[in-house]
């Protein structure tokens, strides 16, 4: 299992279009990535659930990755978050 934390800097938070791209990115891997904020969580491949978490600027999210390619998946998602959120 791999984990990383990320603080959202995008003014609108995890919103529709980039969230869609995030889902695409996550689907490239076999591992399951889960976004966790407080008591809420959503799989990185579930666009609406992810948006439904209402993640806003300044929120810290924990991303947990489990699966055979978790190293690569974690690195890719962390990079994606930095570039897009």
């Amino acid at each position: 299992m791999k984990e990383f934390k990320y603080v959202i800097t995008d003014p609108v938070g995890i919103h529709a279009r980039p969230a869609g791209l995030l889902v695409k990115e996550a689907k490239n891997f076999k591992s399951t990535a889960t976004f966790i904020k407080g008591e809420k969580s959503a799989k990185a491949t579930a666009l609406m659930k992810l948006m439904g978490m209402g993640i806003k600027q300044g929120d810290e999210v924990l991303v947990r990755i489990e699966g055979e390619d978790e190293e690569a998946c974690a690195a890719a998602l962390e990079k994606f978050m930095k570039e897009n959120f």
Binding site: V7, T9, V12, H15, A16, G20, L47, M48, Q57
Partner: protein, 565 residues
């Protein structure tokens, strides 16, 4: 005549018959079916078709240069791939023997409700996206053609609300104006109405079905609609509408035209903006770049000192959104009349002459460096100009450049990508204007901030009503400083722009051009009128005339000017 109020989106007038636009109220059977596989197939076919429709709308909007509305449809297409929330629940419902229509309504409504209950306004507004998708799915499943809903005659459309895909599909040649009971000024429909310049009224709570077919006037200026207006109202507003049209046509013709005088002198017309929200206005008004991007919004919109990341995101968004246009970002100009709690600035007796702009930045280098690093990183995404405000001395410019250089080296060591950028300063103090020769050697461009330059040159507080009789926006001392700054800049190959209010003053355009100004930066709405001025100007006639505006004997234009004239 009856008058009903609403909230206007666009200042404009629409005159014509009303057409009530109603989304079909589908009757969905609750009967169970036996062929579950067939329903799932129908669902899949509809999903793929709607996804294709959304992608086509995305392409259409991109082609017409509306990136923000295009993004909506791109997101819609992505939502239709969502297994967890949309596809799987639909399939589960169909597996119980329900029809595809029944499943779509249940699952999509459920998802829409979840969004509508969220705290954040942005996410709450997404429930409209899900409803929009549901209606598109039902249209396909019922084999319905939404285009016929608009009728065949030009009309003012009146609706409960319009989903983005409905709005985009409307036949624009038949659309005179738009009135909705619901909607918000941030809704996609409002965004589109603004960019298409449709007279639009939202939140008009009194709309009624019996308006259908009635003659009406939508008056955006007064945020209302007149049903069966009297002749006086018709005459007045028809005249106003004709006036608007004539003005718009004239301005529209100027889009895409070069900003060049009759005798061939070119000038760059840039826009002044306050944040990423103004990107669309820059594009719509055909500005050739941004001459002043006030970075204050990143500081003012934040409860705490904004991080490098937050600033980077905002700068990148503007640079990327406007590329390849040049975007000049002015570094932090906090202080004077703009104070912020987290900056913990001491109260000053004389803030206009106090601790502000680079004076704060050079005193607090860590704070300054966060912004400069964000700017340098953003430079990789467009055509950036970095501009330092409130300069009075050469050493300040050198110090700003030194810190910028330090940031560049740090970033390079970290492996960050940095693009090309130009460095400039604001000329807004008499000290800077008089030292323009020395300063010009250090920078690529000057931008004359005429508001502060006037206030500091004339010792006139802009906010004070008592000083109105003494104020002269065309004071010869200010105009002389402007002219000399332009000349000094050019002696050192430094280009010179004007970004204060005087830049948009039509009575000075010819004068500025004659003095050699390279760029005028004004609010987006003034771009096209100013281009009209430029294109009507003819500088060749000045060869024999002496410059009139710098005549020191000229009377002030304020109170005394009127008194003596």
């Amino acid at each position: 005549m009856q008058t009903f109020k609403g909230t206007k989106i666009v200042n404009g007038i629409a005159i014509g018959r009303i057409k009530i636009y109603k989304t079909p109220d589908y009757v969905i059977s609750e009967e169970l079916v036996s062929d579950i596989g067939a329903e799932i197939e129908r669902f899949e076919a509809a999903r793929v078709k709607v996804q294709e429709q959304q992608n086509a709308l995305y392409e259409k909007e991109m082609k017409e240069g509306r990136k923000d509305t295009a993004g909506i449809f791109e997101a819609h297409a992505m939502m239709l791939d969502d297994e967890d929330t949309l596809i799987d629940p639909c399939k589960e419902i169909m597996a119980e023997g329900h029809t595809a229509e029944y499943a779509v309504r249940a699952a999509f409504d459920n998802a829409a409700t979840e969004f509508s209950e969220m705290e954040d306004e942005y996410f709450r507004a997404r429930s409209a996206d899900v409803i929009d998708l549901k209606n598109s799915m039902l249209d396909v499943l019922f084999g319905n053609d939404t285009e016929s809903l608009q009728g065949t005659e030009p009309a003012i459309l009146v609706a409960e609300d319009l989903a983005p895909s409905e709005t985009v599909k409307l036949d624009k040649s038949l659309l005179l104006g738009l009135v909705t009971r619901l909607g918000s000024s941030n809704s996609h429909t409002a965004i589109l109405a603004r960019s298409m310049n449709w007279p639009t009224l939202i939140q008009c709570h009194d709309i009624a079905d019996d308006w259908d077919g009635k003659f009406a006037i939508l008056d955006g200026y007064n945020s209302c609609i007149y049903i069966e207006p009297d002749q006086k109202t018709i005459d007045e507003l028809s005249a106003k509408q004709a006036e608007d049209k004539a003005r718009e046509e004239k301005l529209k013709e100027l889009k895409g035209q070069p900003s060049v005088t009759k005798d061939g002198r070119k000038v760059k017309l840039y826009a002044n903006i306050g944040g990423p929200k103004d990107i669309q206005a820059v594009i719509e008004n055909d500005a050739e770049g941004v001459g002043l991007f006030r970075s204050e919004f990143v500081y003012l919109n934040s409860k705490e000192d904004p991080s490098e990341e937050a600033q980077f995101a905002a700068y990148k968004q503007v640079l990327e959104g406007l590329s390849p246009r040049m975007v000049i970002i002015r570094t932090c100009d906090i202080g004077a009349d703009k104070t912020i709690d987290y900056m913990q600035l001491d109260k000053e007796d004389n803030p206009a002459l106090g601790f502000r702009a680079v004076r704060i930045c050079l005193t607090r280098p860590d704070f300054f460096k966060r912004q400069l690093r964000a700017l340098l990183r953003a430079s990789a995404f467009g055509n950036l100009g970095i501009m330092f405000p409130m300069i009075i001395s050469l050493w300040e410019v050198k110090k700003c450049k030194e810190i910028l250089e330090e940031c560049r080296k740090e970033l390079e060591a970290e492996g960050a990508k940095i693009g090309k950028y130009e460095i400039g300063i604001m000329i807004e103090t008499p000290a800077a204007a008089l030292c323009a020769d020395e300063l010009a050697e250090e920078v690529d461009f000057f931008s004359l901030g005429t508001n502060d330059l006037t206030q500091y040159t004339c010792a006139i507080d802009r906010q004070s009503a008592n000083l109105e009789p003494f104020a002269n926006t065309h004071h010869p001392a200010v105009l002389r400083l402007i002219r000399e700054t332009i000349e000094a800049g050019h002696r050192h190959n430094t280009w010179v722009g004007i970004c204060g209010e005087l830049g948009a003053d039509p009575t000075l355009t010819e004068e500025f051009l004659k003095w050699g100004v390279d760029e005028l930066s004004v609010n987006p709405k003034s771009i096209l009128p100013l281009r009209g001025n430029v294109r009507n100007a003819d500088l060749s006639k000045f060869k024999t005339e002496s410059p009139k505006a710098v005549d020191p004997k000229k009377e002030p234009k304020g109170f005394f000017g009127r008194l003596f004239s």
